[in-house]
Symmetry: C2
Subunit: 201 residues, 2 copies
Amino acid sequence: MSLGKPNQRTYVALVHHPVYDKNHKVVATSVTNLDIHDIARACRTYGLGGYYLVHPIGAQRELTRRIVAHWKTSEGMAQNEDRSAALRLVQVSASIEEVIREIHDRHHLPPVVVATSARPRSPMLQPHEVLRGAEDSERPLLLLFGTGWGLVDDWIEKADGLMGPIWGPTDYNHLAVRTAVGIILDRLFGEPRYNCGEHGL
Amino acid sequence: MSLGKPNQRTYVALVHHPVYDKNHKVVATSVTNLDIHDIARACRTYGLGGYYLVHPIGAQRELTRRIVAHWKTSEGMAQNEDRSAALRLVQVSASIEEVIREIHDRHHLPPVVVATSARPRSPMLQPHEVLRGAEDSERPLLLLFGTGWGLVDDWIEKADGLMGPIWGPTDYNHLAVRTAVGIILDRLFGEPRYNCGEHGL
């Protein structure tokens, strides 16, 4: 298949396990309807290749599939064609490993896996570094977003790179994951005039 | 009072009326819990002066006040201090006019009112033009976001300026309002390296 533009071979995975809860315990969080919708609409806006919901529990994957399936019916499309167009990007997966395998199979190249974290660490990649990495290697790009209190350290370390917290001009960085995905996609793929024309799409 | 930095005298209003529904009828939409939370967290991240929920129906304003009040109690703070810090920014108002009066009273200057719309129009302001306008005049800045199918034309025309749709590299622009607020605040007040250092904060 054609390699496509960088955004077209970029994927978001919303990870419900393994993530931390507020007491730093590793848990599986519940799928929420708005995480599916809001993030699918952001992925569609920036022209991504797909959006994976990752959950180890079969019943949660089935629930997600049922929500998404509604929007693929003629009834769902008649109700809101734009919503339907976004939700067609959604796929469901049991683990991050499975997502990586699927993207690898689809593109015949393993994805560059970039984790995100609201906790500062080093080294952290800037958006243009993430893009340059994916462009130079011509590999697909997988962005991992943790629900709850964030991805476990193990995946932060195993990933090929890390994008750090989103800062405004304050020391507060507790955005909803729905909002964080939108902002990071905008920093990566938003209209070039907003990010210094370092990369045209 | 001190004028403060531009972000500190910027306000977001989430307008539940007057907005359009999908059939272009003027309606009042319902307050949703996640709009309160997600947008408050984004406003806190970018250090805004406040976040107004605008609803003409008293019972909806009361519901909003009750949700917000919980997070100001010691129980709410113990539950999640970060959430509580964000929700302290939330105020409730019956109309856009009332929001404008309150900001005027607080700053002794009328706000520059900037509407947002997912429907392209002209002229449309770029983020640096919005900021320059507020900086040059030293006036506060009020950003209006419509729920439902967007702010009525009347307010688009009455506002001092308009920020247009958020585009990625596609022709799809149907973001959730929660996501759109986050992205616009990031384009206005995000780390300077992402927006060409045209304005340092």
